[in-house]
Amino acid sequence: MLKKTLRFRSAQISVAILLAVLLLAIFGSALAPQDPLHQSVKDFLQGPSSRHWLGTDYLGRDVLSRLLAGTRTSVTTAAEATLVGLVFGAIPGLLSAFLGTWFDFIANRITDAIMTLPTIVFAIGCTAVLGNSLTPAMLAIGFLSSPLFFRVTRAAALEFVRAQYVESAELFGASRFRIVRVHVLNKVIPTIAVAAAMSASAALLIVSSLTFLGIGVVPPAPTWGGVLASDLSYLNQAPWAPIVPAVLIMLTAGALNALADAIRDASGVHVSLLSAASSKAATEEAAATELTQPGDDADPAFLGANSANPVIDKIDEEAADVNRHSAA
């Protein structure tokens, strides 16, 4: 699936962008030309210049340095939240499709309960209990995004639970674990990937609103969302300022979404085949394919052309007639 995905131009560009973001996440702080925390009151809200390539913020800090240094926190945040969401959402989602009515019912009710929790209040509660740092906040955000993963995964998996090849695997005596691993997982992954890309880009932005409240990332530590949030407060003085962090977030989120789309498209052949199979026309279609290429595998010699069976031989002659007609 990976090779097929990388054949798409959009996937290649996305992977290039994401690799660049990854490099920034690792080496960002070292690359920053200036101290991202250094304040200079007389230089506040300046436009781009040779000294500050992307200008300065409301405290006179170098925006380029803050963005570079903030990459790691931002990426970790998004990754952490998405991962937590996946673990608490996607795995129960897959299981609830296979573990029977009771598990499904209970998992659904728990999901309903989680969805009633208000994000910010829950995040504040988590940081109050677990201490105010990034991980508890992201645990909260990820946990609250798990219903999305649960619903999406469950819906996608349910489509395959009653698939005939799953039934066929059951007839071979396959365990549920094996059925999920071999027959279901790779068909559900594209859907989960799209949900994960959405969730990751949302997490990048949620961080900014949490920073605003001083939850998770404590000022003055820089993040992309934090830079964006502070710039938005000074639109009158520097209307262009939010563009830079916004473009960075957009590029990353866009690359994630495009990659997810490419993964889905790479498995698209099979998806279309599945929908064809589920329609009643499938058998007719199969028959039609056969008739258009009669010589394809019609090998009369494969078990000896003349059987001891008069009936089969008679039908054979009819078949030969049909083939002659279609050839003419």
């Binding site: 698939a163 005939q164 090849y165 039934e167 066929s168 695997a169 059951e170 007839l171 071979f172 005596g173 396959a174 365990s175 094996r178 071999v182 027959h183 790779n186 068909k187 498995s267 052949v269 099979h270 085949l273 599945l274 064809a276 199979a277 589920s278 499938a282 058998t283 199969a286 028959a287 394919t289 056969e290 008739l291 290429q293 009669p294 394809d296 595998d297 019609a298 090998d299 009369p300 494969f302 078990l303 059987s307 069976n309 008069p310 009936v311 089969i312 008679k314 039908i315 054979d316 009819e318 078949a319 030969a320 049909v322 083939n323």
Partner: protein
């Protein structure tokens, strides 16, 4: 066709026996009675054809034997072992043993589109978890050879091969486990006639070479006529007739079977040709017109399988006695092997017909329009 009978294998213990099985699908008040008092036996090396119209319960019968549907009554035995009551790990162990295999009707749906032919054929062996990867590879290639497929297909996906090839892949993945019994649900209904014959000949060949027993489910009489030893006719969930196929086709004892055969023009012509004395009154082929109840009111048919003979609403020989369920009655056969008919009038309807219709029916019926 009568090889099993001639070699005396027909006296062997039955490989599979289904005894008085009832199947309800759904629960509570919505439960539908799909099969009622179904009996069948399959002996080693025998090919049993199961025919019936859409909705007669053919596929449910197969699914019940495979344990995909549970009988509400009766039992199913494989050799001496009752398999219909197995649950959980016991059922899984039986399935992993691979002695009974099922070939689904539509290979496009029963083959995982993401797997290659090699993975598909190997699936049963991999699930068993006993063979080494080298052994699996050898047996997969061997099974492909049995069904006449080339090894170059191993890396192909189901979407990349033709319908006939897919059907053979389906059969190969059943055969790779070296089953004793193969159940094929409409194995040829989606195939053109040349592929159809290849598949049927393959099943016939496997029976001879490997001693495989086969149940072929079909709505098409002519695909069974060449290869099956016995035929079981289902109508609305009940077995109406079960006997040696040559005798049943030559002289059906149940009006429904007679109607089915008369409705298949190619088959009835052929049967007429094969008979030693086609002009003999005794064996004169029947015509649909003689058997059909013209003013049949099937809309008011009760869904209750216990409310009399299931065919009576469409039967022109039905009388008051048909309001009770007919018991299966033994009919003498020329070659042995058992012939059972569920009809109150099985010994009289033909005579009644010949008396009543003699002046009006032409000696040789005109073929039906196709």
């Amino acid at each position: 066709m009568t090889a099993t009978v001639e070699s005396g294998r027909s006296v062997d213990l039955p490989l599979l026996s289904v005894e008085s099985v009832d199947v309800h699908l759904g629960r509570g008040r919505r439960a539908a009675h799909i099969l009622s008092q179904v009996d069948l036996t399959v002996r080693p090396g025998e090919i049993l054809g199961v025919i019936g119209e859409t909705g007669s319960g053919k596929t449910t019968l197969a699914r019940t034997v495979m344990g995909l549907a549970d009988p509400s009554q009766g039992e199913i035995r494989l050799q001496d072992k009752v398999i219909s009551s197995l649950r959980g790990s016991a059922r899984r162990d039986l399935r992993r043993g691979g002695s009974v295999q099922f070939v689904f009707q539509d290979p496009l749906r029963s083959l995982d589109p993401d797997l290659t032919v090699e993975q598909l054929v190997a699936e049963g062996l991999v699930t068993q978890g006993q063979a080494s990867s080298h052994e699996i590879a050898t047996r997969v290639r061997e099974a492909l050879g049995w069904v006449g497929l080339d090894e170059s297909l191993l890396s192909k996906h189901p979407a990349q091969i033709s319908g006939g090839q897919r059907q053979r892949v389906s059969i190969a993945r059943a055969l790779v486990l070296r089953p004793q019994l193969l159940i094929c649900d409409e194995p040829v209904s989606a195939l053109d006639s040349s592929n159809r014959n290849n598949i049927l000949r393959l099943l016939d060949e496997l029976r001879t070479s490997r001693g495989l027993s086969v149940i072929i489910i079909s709505h098409d009489l002519s695909s069974l006529a060449g290869i099956a030893d016995r035929v079981l006719v289902l109508y609305r969930g009940r077995v109406v007739e079960d006997g040696p196929i040559s005798e049943v086709f030559a002289r059906p004892r149940h009006p429904y079977t007679a109607l089915l055969i008369a409705s298949a023009p190619a088959l009835s012509d052929q049967l007429a040709d094969q008979r030693p004395e086609p002009s003999s009154e005794q064996h004169r082929p029947l015509h649909v017109r003689q058997l059909r109840l013209v003013d049949a009111d099937t809309a008011t048919v009760s869904n209750d399988l216990e409310a009399g003979c299931v065919f009576r609403a469409r039967c022109r020989f039905a009388t008051d006695v048909c309001g009770t369920v007919p018991a299966a009655q033994d009919v003498p056969t020329a070659h042995g092997g058992g012939w059972r008919v569920s009809c109150h009038h099985h010994s009289t309807w033909r005579a009644e017909l010949e008396d009543a219709d003699r002046p009006r029916v032409p000696a040789r019926p005109e073929p039906l329009p196709h």
